[in-house]
Amino acid sequence: MKFLCIDCDAQMSYEERSQPGDGTFAAAFSCPTCGRRIAMLANPMETQLVSSLGVQIGGRVLDEQPMELVRTIVDGRPDAFHDDVAEPTRPVWSTGAVERLSRVPSFVRGMVKRIYTDYAVERGIADITPDVMDRARSDLGLEEM
């Protein structure tokens, strides 16, 4: 999918994406010539159709996780997976971060926890807080996590 600025006949540049609620997917684009900005809004059905393909609009920052599609799409049982998390370098999860993690569906929670943990370990972050989770979401493109 490409967006053209008609006035400038220039391809608009992807800026950011977000899932603001009700299943809507939003992506912002801007014209590199005139600076005009637009937002593309996909309805919940369109959003689910794309996510069902296991691809990400705007590109992937994080490598695809093992059974990522299964774990993000399928309504599975909470104890289906047991995820490895590196113990020796494990950062500390703050109460707020634990509370937020608890709102992630349990079928995918182990995978999400590992992603945040790896993010913190790779950056030398000792404490995972809601702020760190926000940064990771933005840096890694984890709108749904």
Binding site: K2, L4, V55, P66, M67, R77, D79, H82, M111
Partner: protein, 280 residues
């Protein structure tokens, strides 16, 4: 207003959706490098005992070979239970470890993922499910091949859902498919349904390795004699029509006795030998 085509606009495509899809396919190919043969077990309709044949064949082969089983019937999984496989599934750096049975068979099935009695369904459901059901199922099947740490296998059996669509998906997802093993019961109704699937296999460029006629008579648990169960000779008819071998005729064994089990075991051993020979 004149619009240029997508390919006439030469700016950066940051999403690289096509590359993401290609990467998914590449992961399947990479993972399957350690698997010597991949055989899909198919039928034309449900209820012919395809999962029974898959499980029995896997158990027989596992005595001397490294065997994996993918339960491709996502909506009605039975292979894990038939083989005695259970979770939870361990997720490591190399992917998801398959469930391991007491026979050493590696298994992946939606039965290991779903709550007891729960149907296979998407977590977020915005309605109009039919528009994406096929995409979801193909994606899950793809991850069963690409994201499971299968290791080195002599044979990976994929027990597919009844109907042609499952084989079509598999043929596109797994380029190295060795072939299909066709399961039927003796009835003419089954023959007609299975024949459609065999033709579809040919259209998909998938080799049909042979036919198994399941429930081919009724084996008495007491005297061991086999009597009639269904009218028809679908196994032999399909083998003749498509010029493929009839690899086995397996009777229905109602009660487990030493004699009946030994006889069925002999038939399964012969089937396993013949299948490996034709698939080599």
């Amino acid at each position: 207003m004149n619009f240029r085509t997508y390919n006439e606009v030469h700016g950066e495509d940051r999403s690289r959706l096509l590359e993401q899809v290609v990467a998914q396919r590449t992961r399947v190919v990479d993972r399957m490098r350690g698997v010597e043969r991949i055989i899909a077990v198919v039928s034309g309709k449900g209820g012919v005992g395809k999962s029974y044949v898959t499980a029995a064949l896997a158990r027989t082969l596992a005595r001397e070979r490294r065997i994996g089983v993918i339960d491709g019937d996502l909506q009605g999984p039975t292979a894990a239970r038939l083989l005695g496989a259970s979770g939870p599934l361990h997720v490591g750096a190399n992917g998801v470890e398959p469930a391991m049975t007491a026979d050493g068979i590696r298994v992946m099935s939606t039965d290991l993922l779903l709550a007891e009695g729960a149907p296979f369904r998407a977590r977020t459901d915005g309605g109009e499910r039919f528009t994406r059901r096929g995409i979801v199922e193909a994606g899950v099947l793809r991850e069963f091949f690409s994201d499971v740490a299968w290791g080195t296998l002599d044979l990976l059996l994929a027990d597919l859902a009844p109907g042609a669509h499952a084989l079509e998906d598999l043929a596109e997802l797994v380029p190295g498919l060795t072939g299909v093993l066709v399961v039927t019961i003796p009835s003419d109704e089954s023959r007609r349904a299975v024949a459609r699937n065999v033709r579809r296999a040919g259209e998909c460029g998938v080799r049909v390795l042979g036919v198994v006629e399941n429930m081919s008579g009724y084996a008495c648990g007491g005297c061991g004699e086999t009597g009639p169960l269904f009218d028809g000779s679908a196994g032999a008819d399909l083998a003749a029509e498509f010029a493929v071998p009839l690899l086995a005729r397996l009777p229905f064994v109602a009660s487990s006795t030493r004699h009946a089990d030994a006889s069925q075991s002999e038939r399964l051993t012969a089937l396993a030998t013949a299948l490996l020979e034709v698939a080599s």
